[in-house]
Amino acid sequence: MSETGHQHSTGDPSTIADNLPTDQQETVGRHASNSCWSGSSLQSVETMEEMQRDWTELVTNIQVAADARESQCRADMFEAGRLRVEKLENEAKSSLEKCEEIIRKWTVTKVKEFPQDLRDSLNSQQQLCARIIEDKNKVIQELQQEIKLSDDCFVKDRKTQAEHMDLIIDRMEEQVNFLMGSYRDELVQFENSLEQERRILLTGNRRKWEQHMEERRHKELENAMQRMRRVEEYDKSLQQLRTSEAEDLIKLDTDQKMQQIKATLQLRQETHHYCLEVMKNIDGDNTIVKSLMTEKINRWQDVVSRLKIKCANEEKLAWEVYQKLTEDYKLKMQQYKDLQKKKQLAAIHAKRFEEIWLMNKEEVKALVTKALDTDRLIHEQLLGLSWQPPPLGFMEQCGSLKNQRQAQSTACQTAAELLRPEGTSPCHLGKYKEASAGPRDVCESGAGQETGSSKTNRVGSGGKNSGTVLVKKIQELLCDKAGFLIESQLFKILSPLEKDEQCLMKMDSIFTAMGIESKEDVHKLAMFFTNYRQPQGDPYLTQDVSARCGAVASYQEEAGERSYCSPTSDLMNPNDVLVALKAFTAYHCRHSDGHDCVSREVVAPKDPSMLAVGGRDNSEDAAYWKAMADVIPEAKLKVWDALETALNKYHVVLTDKSKLIKDTQRLRQQNAELQKLLQQQANSRVRPGQDKVHGMDPAR
């Protein structure tokens, strides 16, 4: 049994080993079938498979035989076992019968009475038993024999099985070797056939290749020959063409050239003749002209010498004039410098004056209040009268100093407000109204408040937008064009500021330079500029500034309003700004003379720096100070004098009185002390020593 198992287990690898080459072969076959000799490969595959099968069969034959033998053996064993069992059963049956006979005989023997019979029967019993035992022994022996036989058989089987195993192994080895050999052969064959095929293909290809190459070579040669031939032909024809052409050309050329040369020669001859005659004529003319020219030259030379002398004289004169003028200039410069210094001094003085003024005013004010207070005290406490404060309206007036300041600042403010884009507040408008309500209430046709509002008001209310835009534009124009009025240092300072602010500052300085202080002036300027557009077209006016100004002024009076409302699409030409400015200053100066305001003194527009100094109203100062001084009236002063004398007297009385009181007080005190001493003495009369002492005291 174990033998077959071993066989089975060793059978497995062999089948695996068999299977592997099959796969290989199949793959080989498949590859082969792809190429052109699939038929032979299929055949070889078949033969190989057959071989393999045969060999496997050969190997497995042993196994099958062993199986068959084993099954046969088992069947035999089964049969033998069955026979054996039968036999044993028969044996048991017969022995049982015999036993029963013996037992039966025992009953017979028990009955027997004769010893001899008994012995006989016992003997027979013994014999029977012995026979049974013999039978059993026989059976046992037989069985033992069988065991021995089967042992032998087993050993023999083992041997045969071992032989079979060896055989199987041998055959397997053989198979493997054979198959390997055959596969190798097959492989070699495959390779050979492949090689052969390849060789055939190669040779065929090579032959074809060579053939093609040969053909090509032939063709090339032919082509080359053809080409050469053709080149020669072309060369030849070219040569021919060239010679024929050349001959033709030569012939043609000579004829033409000859004719041409003749013609040109003739032409030249004629021209030469003509030229000669002309030259002769010219020569004659030239001699005449030459004589004329020499005459002229002499004359001109005289003129030149004369002029030279004149020129030298003139130069000398001019030099002298120049010298004089430079000296003048130097003098003027010196004067100007002095003036500048003076101006600075004046400014300082004005400032100091202002400060002193203010200080004095404060002091006086304090004094006045003090005086008033004392007056009030006197009235209320001494006289017992009710005190009424005198009118103090003049106190609020602080003089004309402030007004000037205000005016100037308002000019700047207006500029600033106008420059501010849209944030025009109602107060802004109100300011305009306020300003317009003032001095410059130029009458116009019509009545009522609406007509009363001046042009400036128009700027503020009606054409607010257009007006502000206009003014702004004019300001920008001024900034650009009237930059010479601004000090150069200011530019440096202003450069980091924003555009609007820069513009504003510039405007400020320009206004101060031009002497424009109030917003009316600003608007006047604006108006002037807008109106200037019209007359600008007339060139004759530009010469006479004053005349034109008059025209402008009159024009302005009439149509100023309209021009404000008209769209200010194009303003005056920036190049004319300076001229206009000049005209304006002249006009402004004259105008301001005409419309002298209440508090304003004569303003010198050409010297704006003097404004602060000279612009003071001295006439009111005296009144002001006087009013201050006269705050206490004369009558009251008399009362005060009387009161003082009365009070002095009262004071004297009071001092006497106080002196008396003091005396009485001291006396009273002395009196009280004396009383005290007296009392002490009265109490200590008992001791004389003491009395003595006490007695001495009053003496003192």
Partner: protein, 454 residues
Amino acid sequence: MTATISKAPWGGTYPPVAKLNLAADPRKMRRIIAEDPEWSLAVVPHLSNICLQHIVRNFEERPILDKLLPSHKDYVLERLSTSLPLRVTSNLISDEGYWKRCCQKRWGLRDVSAYGHSWKRMFHERHLENIIELFIPDVTDPRLVLDAVPLCRDYVTRLNISQLLPPIKEPQAQEEDDGRDSASDLSVQGPSVDHFDFGILLDKLSRLEELHVVYRVKGCGMNFEWNLFEFTYRDCELLARALKSCTTLRVLRIHQSKVDDEKCRLLVNNLLDHPSLRELNLSHNLVGDRGARAIGKLLTRSRLETLTVYDNNIQGPGARAIAHALAKNTSLLSLDLRLNRLGDEGGQAIAQALLKNCTLERLYLGANEMSEPTATVLSQVLVQNQMLRSISLACNRLGSDGGKVLEEGVSHNSMLLECDLRLTEVGQESEYCIRRVIQNNKNRERKTQDDSVM
């Protein structure tokens, strides 16, 4: 072990590291030694080489491998001792070269193709097999096996146990095998187990797929005793329980172990509804009709693909039970009932089952005392069933009539590729005809294969 290390090939030219005191020897301090004709610069070892040698030498204490550069790794692996303990190497080294050296040192030249071309798997499987095969119940410490489990668990997919030792009963028993040691003063009480208990092992091997077991002793020679070849009922119980716990098992082979009806039933009862079992092999046993009935039950309650009951004692009734199951089965591909005693009764039953079954591809019914009646039914089957690829009827007395009937059946079949009719007395003519039909079938098959490949 240390001796082998110091004698290793690298020790020849290089002095040991411990003695490398260069300053002490003025000769070593010199770059060139002109007076020595045998001197050459190559003798001076690289520091990296010395380090690697050190690593190799102290690998057991400090296994450094994965941190090394690839070239250095190769150097170390080439020189590592094969006698290093498994606990160091098994989970660290995956290099096949090292395991090849280990295997060849321990077992000589072997065929690695049987182990999936993995030397490491081969080493671990054979290591575990050796431990189990030399396991003596009540003498060997079970921890010896359990210690090996975590090392081998990831690499063992097949266990081919070729012997299982019985417990020692009397002093003379120890001389039976060379592998046993002299632990003889054991008490003579009944042993706790009769053989190695697979229950402690199988549920821990998470990748085990194949188990081949033989309950017998190899090479006992003249010490033969019947009790050396005993597969007791207790063993069977333990084995069955262990098999049930091993859910990854695909192939089970218990052969030459005297598995009789009772044990077969016990095994089958525990294998019912096994999640992965595909192949069962009970060849060379004593399975009878009742056991065959149990196997029939297993066929209906599992997804077996291969069933081998070669060389058993199955007779007609048992074959009928298997046939009954086969008629309903849809997974079995191969059935081997060779060398049983089915007789015509069993053979007819199996053949009739094949009329209904349409999955079986290989059927082996050799040496089964069948005769003509079976052949007639089989010829019907061959006409009708187009799944059968291989059939073996060798060593059955079919007779020439049976051969003719079969010839007719085969002539209507186009799928059969193998038909074994040796020693069946069918007559040469019918055998030849059948062979030709099969040859045609094969050719057709090959052609369709070629077509499908093209």
